[in-house]
């Protein structure tokens, strides 16, 4: 009975630790992901969301890099065959599992197509 209780307690503790902890932070509201040319026509094509691959490390937590942000935006745009993400919200997700710490960058907003031309100016 004692052994069973001990085993159960250990198993419960393992489950608690193994379940880890995941936190998602809103890191900003942005108007555009890429440069919107003033000499262009921008047409919204719908909602899009994307995420970067998780960047994991032992013990320490990795920071968000430009490559992660770029990957998340590209993944969001790929689904809609769009050129630019407008009015989008960015999230940073931090996950911890035992000694493994992962960082993920996510975006969601409106995907839009952009056709660049030349505007008539005086």
């Amino acid at each position: 009975m004692k052994k069973f209780l001990l085993f159960s307690a250990l198993f419960l503790m393992f489950l608690l630790v193994a379940s880890g902890c995941s936190k998602t932070y809103v890191t900003g509201f942005h108007t555009e992901s890429n440069f919107a040319y003033p000499n262009s026509n921008v047409t919204p094509v719908g909602y899009a969301a994307g995420a970067s691959s998780p960047a994991c490390s032992l013990f320490g937590q990795k920071f968000v890099t430009s490559d992660m942000q770029d990957e998340a935006v590209k993944n969001a745009l790929q689904a809609k065959q769009a050129d630019i993400l407008v009015n989008y919200i960015a999230f940073t997700k931090l996950s911890n599992f035992l000694i493994v710490n992962c960082t993920e960058y996510m975006v969601e907003g409106t995907a839009a197509k952009m056709v660049i031309g030349t505007q008539k100016l005086k």
């Binding site: 992901s33 440069f35 003033p38 968000v64 430009s66 490559d67 942000q69 770029d70 505007q119 100016l121």
Partner: protein, 131 residues
């Protein structure tokens, strides 16, 4: 035999201390300067630039002058470029913790598309809103 064990432990600790670590942090940006809505922007090509700083014991920080110089360095690679668009900027910090003297290496890296902006005047109608 016991001394040999301590030597091995010390050697392991020394190796661990010289491994060091690298941390990288950065973001993307759509434009480096204000782009006038009454302008035509034309991309000129991909550019990149970096600035490094090396510090003994104390790491050297990047200043706003370094960042400005970095953007200027990138833009100077294309004749007539006024603005850097769709850029990526990252700071990489490496520390090699050698006992007494730790070596600190800071690198700021920038890449993006250089573009030329031609500012003109749009034809505008009178604003009807009373606000």
């Amino acid at each position: 035999m016991k001394t040999y064990g301590i030597e091995k432990l010390l050697l392991f600790c020394a190796l661990m201390m010289t491994v060091g670590c690298t941390m990288k942090m950065g973001s993307i940006g759509d434009k480096s300067h204000f782009t006038y809505p009454n302008s035509n922007v034309e991309p000129l090509g991909h550019v990149s630039a970096s600035v490094e700083k090396f510090g003994l014991i104390i790491p050297k920080d990047m200043t706003k002058e370094d960042v400005r110089a970095l953007f200027e360095k990138a833009l100077s690679q294309k004749a007539g470029a006024d603005v850097l668009i769709n850029y990526k900027i990252d700071t990489e910090y490496t520390v090699i913790p050698i006992p007494i003297f730790s070596l600190n290496y800071t690198r700021l890296y920038l890449s993006g598309t250089a573009a030329k902006m031609t500012v003109g005047q749009k034809e505008l109608k009178e604003l009807k809103s009373a606000y």
